[in-house]
């Protein structure tokens, strides 16, 4: 019987602070992952039962400050202000104490109850940093607990403290700025004394001086006369300090963080460069860095594909007799056939999700937990910039090679809407594992491996050109890369497990319904006997323009479900898997190119729909259909000259 009552806590901290590890350790599998209302940003909630209490834990997005630079930051700050959590646990990366403390100071300005978790204290020690956390406790007059989240150490102490502090008024020392700034804050606070807003008055005053857009907007509605005063005060500050008032305040805050760090941290310098530094130097070097990247990514793709092909083949032989069994027991009526197509869709999903997506996610999260993913962003930033996005976009491309669905979902790591959209569009052009089946099964096998690899290169060039064009067409400034580079650390199995589980779950939930429904619909059209009409009505495109057999019209429609169906159905319709007998080499290359670009598969379309609305999803589909038809037709005419 749990009767101690309910407690709400939130986890807040910068990226790479080990926040997810804390969240996973506390809530285990009692997690619920959804979206913030109206936003495409993940909301992770979970429940923990501890000492008669039901503790609801909310994991705020990883952010670097509480200004309104990104959607995540607005979400975090609004949540803390409006939902009054019983406690905010600030997860701090002890190896980057100074930078993390800047965030802590901002958090404390919100005047909410805060507990500081000095996380990764073991790694800090390894780095030669001795942190006097008692002194930090004294300076801030707040609870400070050293933790090692990956092992769960220190977390029960935090929970005990959460229960103990519940309902108590916070009494930590709110830090003071320099005299001139404090004077401005005081004057504004007096003017705002009786304002009807849920924010602390001192915090509003600080944000006004920092020229925060949201807060300035609120005050403009409620007390426009105050803004006049703000203007005068910030001008005065700017005259004294020679910088914009927002910078003056941020400057003082970070100097304070720096002063605190100097007071509490003792550094024992290593005589030799640490393993981490040497590894970092090699993996980010302008030559060896790329070599290592090619080896790691190459190894990743080769192992995922060879494992995937093996397991997928195993599944195939496992499911082989199911269709016959279904037909024997349920007959071949219209309904039974429709039912089978639904089951077939589920089986197909299993055959993609487990052999390809699962190992792909495991390796990806392993690289992420190790700290390597940020190195890829660093190495690729340059090239990505030419397409109007920054280095982080490269991660979505890599994921897209496995499957476009998680590739498009991962675009959430980009900061602005514009960049998210460009990245997502480009990801839909990345040849996923299903497209690879076509490229290698058709072109690789019957035309030559070099041609198949050439098609990959061709795809990369196309993506580059489309990126270049879309970054010109979509207005807006490209965002520069600002990314903390985490130290390498030993990957934790538990973290990898939870992250893989989350990603796989999301993939299945998004892909399954749409794949099943559209599978049934297309089968219904097929059973109604409309397919010949469709293929003949498409023949001006398929036969006249692309020089392909008329049957490909039907294949391309089925291919929307899953791209590799193009090959599977081709074999079924022709009654042979020896495609060399029925297709010429030009036709194979043309078909492979069309399959690569002509439309995202339904599962990917559903993600685009969910993330960017149906209008944009539809626009992408139409544009890609036109683009692929034109491109492949032109290519066919060039190939006619070659062969």
């Amino acid at each position: 019987m749990i009767d101690g009552g309910k407690i709400n806590i939130v986890l807040a901290g910068q990226g790479n602070s080990g926040k997810s590890a804390v969240f996973n350790y506390l809530t285990g599998l009692h997690q619920h992952i959804g979206n913030w209302a109206g936003k495409t940003i993940e909301k992770r909630e979970g429940t923990l039962y501890y000492k008669d209490y039901t503790i609801d834990v909310l994991d705020l997005p990883g952010i670097y400050s509480l200004t309104t630079y990104s959607v995540e930051e607005v979400i975090a700050r609004e949540y803390i202000i409006h939902h009054h959590p019983d406690c905010v646990i600030n997860i701090i990366d002890s190896t980057n104490l100074e930078r993390n403390l800047i965030f802590t100071l901002q958090l404390m300005e919100l005047e909410c109850p805060v507990i500081l978790a000095l996380n990764m204290i073991d790694l800090a020690k390894k780095k030669g940093l001795t942190i006097d956390f008692r002194k930090l406790r004294e300076i801030l007059n707040a609870t400070v607990i050293p933790t090692i989240a990956s092992r769960g150490s220190g977390l029960t102490r935090i929970m005990d403290k959460v229960i103990e502090l519940r309902g108590e008024k916070t009494d930590y020392r709110v830090h003071r700025y320099g005299k001139e700034i404090e004077n401005c804050i005081k004057q504004l606070s007096e003017l705002l004394q009786d304002i009807d807003l849920p924010y602390p008055v001192r915090w509003i005053a600080i944000k006004l001086l920092e020229k925060d857009n949201d807060i300035t907007g609120l005050i403009r509605d409620k007390r426009p006369e105050v803004l006049e005063r703000v203007k005068q005060l910030s001008q005065a500050l700017e005259e004294i300090h020679g910088h914009d008032s927002s910078i003056v305040i941020a400057d003082e805050r970070s100097h304070l963080a720096s002063r605190i760090t100097r007071e509490i941290v003792k550094i024992t310098p290593h005589r030799k460069a640490s393993l981490n530094d040497r590894l970092d130097a090699i993996t980010t070097h302008k030559f060896t860095g790329y070599l290592v990247m090619i080896l790691i990514l190459g190894g990743m793709f080769i192992s995922v594909f060879s494992f995937g092909n093996w397991l997928s083949g195993w599944f195939e032989s496992l499911f082989k007799d199911w269709h016959i069994w279904w037909n024997i027991n349920l007959g071949t009526t219209f309904l039974a056939a429709l039912g089978w197509s639904a089951i077939e869709s589920v089986l197909a999903l299993v055959q993609i999700a487990f052999p390809y997506i699962l190992p792909f996610y495991i390796i990806l999260h392993l690289l992420e937990d190790w700290g390597y993913i940020s190195r890829i962003s660093f190495l690729m930033d340059n090239l990505m910039h030419k397409m109007g996005i920054h280095g982080k976009g490269c991660i979505s491309f890599i994921i897209g090679f496995g499957c476009n669905v998680p590739g498009c979902l991962s675009c959430r790591i980009m900061e602005t809407k514009r960049e998210r959209f460009i990245t997502a569009v480009l990801v839909t052009l990345v040849p996923c594992s299903a497209v690879s089946v076509i490229v290698f099964g058709l072109v690789g096998k019957y035309v030559g491996l070099l041609w198949a690899l050439g098609l990959y290169l061709f795809a990369v060039i196309i993506i580059f050109i489309v990126g270049k064009i879309s970054s010109k067409l979509l207005l807006g400034e490209p965002v520069e890369l600002i990314m903390p580079m985490p130290d390498y650390k030993t990957p934790q199995l538990k973290t990898i497990f939870y992250q893989t589980w989350d990603s796989l779950k999301e993939f299945v939930f998004i892909a399954a319904p749409i794949v099943i429904i559209s599978g049934v619909v297309i089968q219904a059209i097929n059973l109604a006997g409309w397919m010949p009409y469709i293929s003949s009505s498409l023949s001006p495109i398929t036969v006249t323009w692309l020089g392909l057999p008329a049957i490909t019209g039907i294949l391309l429609i089925f291919g929307i479900l899953r791209k590799e169906l193009i090959l599977v159905m081709l074999a079924a319709y022709l009654g042979t898997t020896n495609f060399g007998e029925v297709l010429s080499q030009q036709q194979m290359i043309t078909l492979a190119v069309v399959s690569m670009f002509y439309i995202p598969c339904v599962a990917t379309i559903s993600v685009l729909w969910k993330e960017y609305g149906w209008k944009k999803a539809l626009a992408i589909c139409i544009l890609e259909i036109l683009f692929a038809i034109i491109l492949a037709g032109v290519l066919k005419r060039i190939l006619d000259l070659v062969f």
Binding site: S65, T67, R99, I247, S254, S377, N382, G391, I482
Partner: protein, 81 residues
């Protein structure tokens, strides 16, 4: 020994060199973002490495490593230490 030059930017530093930030030329959003990460006038900043052809720069600030796009790095005025 100081080697004070006018208009030296982060991108002008050699790998391994340390400078002190004197100014950040650029929009308020970018300056604010940098300030929140601890990059302010007066902060020491060390260039660790960079990628060729105007690629990003890896720096060390306040004991943390950070990657900055070249465009941004070229807006951070520094004084060589």
């Amino acid at each position: 020994m100081y080697n004070v030059k006018d208009n030296t930017f982060l991108t002008d530093l050699e790998d391994g060199q340390t400078g002190v930030i004197v100014s950040i030329v650029g929009g308020r959003a970018a300056s604010k973002r940098l300030a929140d990460l601890g990059l302010n006038p007066g902060t020491a900043i060390k260039v660790i490495g960079r990628i060729m052809f105007s690629g990003p720069v890896q720096v060390e600030v306040c004991g943390s490593k950070l990657v900055l796009g070249r465009g941004l790095a070229s807006k951070i005025g520094v004084e060589l230490k």
